[in-house]
Symmetry: C2
Subunit: 407 residues, 2 copies
């Protein structure tokens, strides 16, 4: 398996384009489009928030009812959430516009939006944006990279990756791009992520693979504990790699899901590390839990704690806050058995053993915590289950960004 700095255009037959449609931002691209030469089977996971944005409602129907899809249109700046019937009509109009220009059914067009809640999108600008993008569609690397940049809101870096692997001698590629970086919290798919693959795979197994991968990746990311109204992960497969169709859980499926996990894990770590205002990626590993569910709850509780997050920002080995956050996770364990370690590129240190301080060097701990990626590992010694969650520190800039996001 080879990982490289690709994107949604890395898999065969996928095209992308972007444009500055002037929806909210000035002097930057704010719309992107993905198009597949061949029809794709498609899987999607969506926010569990009962307040669902119009594009989420649109896509849920398309993913469930359409036999195939062929295009996605994304805009940044306005979320098209809490916009009633008019918001849904705007999704339809966007799909109709693509349908007319590209000659594909409107039921083959997915839409996604991110940005401010409660405003209507300027539909004329969206439709004009589609018109600008179609002639620019390209399967080149640059088109994919630019698309990743166009969907950003408060993200500071574009997030994209690709992985290639072999099935029966044929090269199969999975590429993806996503955007964070606020209103991000476990318990749903999370934020916007677009994945393309040239694998030949049945819709049933594609759906299962995505569901399986999302549990261990997107659902383990938290920036601020807020589950967005717009979270969407879409995975499209056009079969152009020419591999024998994956339609059962055989070795080829295992290879596919391994590659998919690699792409999603990379994108999740990028989302967490680029959380609003973040200076560091915080990885929390729980080992020795009694059950997987316990491990997940403990990891999420720690990664979501504002007090843990501010301590990481301060490079402060305030382990009491970690144990405290584990304590209110709703999981049964013995605090007086817990071992805790901090690890980064600067080293690894054991902080507590059996629930009390090891008498570690604060200086050494601070040095380990002074890194842009920090891991906390807690062994609860109750069993063999483990889980990893990703988040980030809570900083002055998070407050700055969110205290006046709309102006």
């Amino acid at each position: 398996m080879e990982t490289f700095k690709g994107s949604v255009t890395s898999a065969k037959g996928f095209y992308a384009a972007s444009t500055a449609a002037g929806i909210k931002y000035k002097d930057r691209s704010d719309m992107a489009m993905i198009y597949s030469k061949e029809p794709c089977v498609c899987a999607g996971t969506f926010t569990t928030n009962i307040v669902k944005a119009a594009p989420v409602k649109w896509d849920m129907r398309i993913v469930e009812e359409s036999p195939f899809v062929q295009a996605v249109v994304v805009n940044a700046g306005i979320a098209n959430a809490c916009t009633g019937e008019e918001g849904l009509a705007h999704c339809w109009e966007t799909a109709q516009t693509v349908s007319k220009i590209m000659g594909i059914p409107e039921e083959a067009v997915l839409v996604a939006s991110t940005g401010v809640i409660g405003m209507q999108v300027p539909i004329d600008k969206i439709c004009a944006g589609v018109g600008q993008m179609v002639p620019k569609l390209s399967d080149g690397k640059e088109a994919g990279t630019k698309a990743a940049r166009a969907i950003m809101t408060t993200d500071t870096v574009p997030k994209h990756i690709a992985v290639s692997f072999k099935i029966d001698g044929r090269t199969v590629t999975i590429g993806g791009m996503c955007k964070g970086s606020g209103m991000i919290h476990p318990n749903m798919c999370t934020m916007l992520s677009f994945l393309t693959t040239d694998a030949a795979i049945s819709k049933e197994l594609l759906t299962e693979a995505l569901k399986e991968s999302v549990q261990e990746t997107y659902n383990m990311v938290s920036v601020d504990g807020d589950t967005s109204t717009n979270d969407t992960v879409l995975l499209m497969a056009n079969g152009m790699a020419g591999n024998p169709v994956i339609d059962k859980k055989d070795e080829s499926y295992e290879k596919f899901i391994q590659a998919l996990d690699t792409v999603n894990t990379y994108l999740c770590k990028r989302i967490a590390g680029d959380g609003e205002g973040a200076t560091a990626l915080l990885e929390v590993k729980i080992i020795g839990a009694a059950t997987k569910s316990d491990a997940v709850k403990l990891a999420k509780s720690v990664v979501t704690s504002n007090l843990v997050k501010t301590a990481i920002y301060g490079h402060d080995a305030n382990w009491g806050r970690i144990l405290c956050a584990m304590g209110y996770a709703g999981v049964d364990f013995d605090p007086e058995q817990v071992d805790l370690y901090f690890e980064s590129a600067n080293g690894k240190i054991k902080i507590i053993e059996d629930g009390v301080s090891t008498g570690y060097s604060e200086e050494e701990a601070t040095q380990i915590l002074t890194s842009d990626a920090v891991t906390a590992i807690a062994d609860v010694k109750m069993g063999k289950a483990s889980a990893t969650a990703w988040g980030c520190d809570l900083t002055h800039d998070y407050v700055k960004i969110n205290a006046d996001y709309r102006s």
Copy 2:
């Protein structure tokens, strides 16, 4: 019922003292003591965190097993949490010291600590502090006010209140003091709060009254979503008002619980408004919910959202974040039926009606949100249940305080 700026010494027969024991802070008092001339029945509620500080373990046993109590010793600076057997021995030693000096059983002495997790308390200083406080015990107003100041950590103001009312012609008083102001979140009793009353009341009804009141008050406060290891509410009643003993749920009990609610509501609003770094008290009222439990979940979800809290800091009527936080509360409601209002001393404004914007004036909304106490009222139109939760805005100073709390 009369409310006045009293404290733990307002009820008959209660004494308080404080001292600078030099536990962690310099040049300020950091220990307080409450003493009752007569033995008291006592009720307590404690953190639900499974990581419980040593004083919590000590008090839980005393409240359950001792027929009466007579003193409480509190220290600020070190929490005595995650301190193993040694931490528990320190509680015992503190109680023994009080017992010897005052001639009361050690099982009549409660202890409470707040501050950094994971360090042992300097037990010699604690015991010396007790020795300094005993000769200073006073039932005067100033002693109560000073005690409220001595238990502060990152609190910026002392928090205390008293209420008097009549039962069968006898004046009954309930006084209280508490401290916040970080690691505060619903789902437990919360932080340290000490309540004293001269009411004559059975232990059974005192316990029930406290439990009932805590549900609507301390359990509805959130500063940062972190449930502390030390949260404690203690309520002591010495019977010195001379009223007929309250031992059934009659009119006297109703009067008592009404007064208790008044004290606790006041203290909770003070805790929320003085949350770490806060510039404003955020009150969230949910009305029209199908059940009480739904109303509580919705109110807590909104008051806990970092995105709502930063918007309040920015005086930004970003109502989408409120609807979003309601949407992930795990409660069934129709977002397209919700009405939302903002209210403060500066006025009241309807922001959304049936889930969409009313086209309100942003300028007017900002003016209403520019206040040190802001209320958001959401009507979900599903039934008749309601709930109120209290929190605060999330500010630069919260991050500053918590990024380097230990140094």
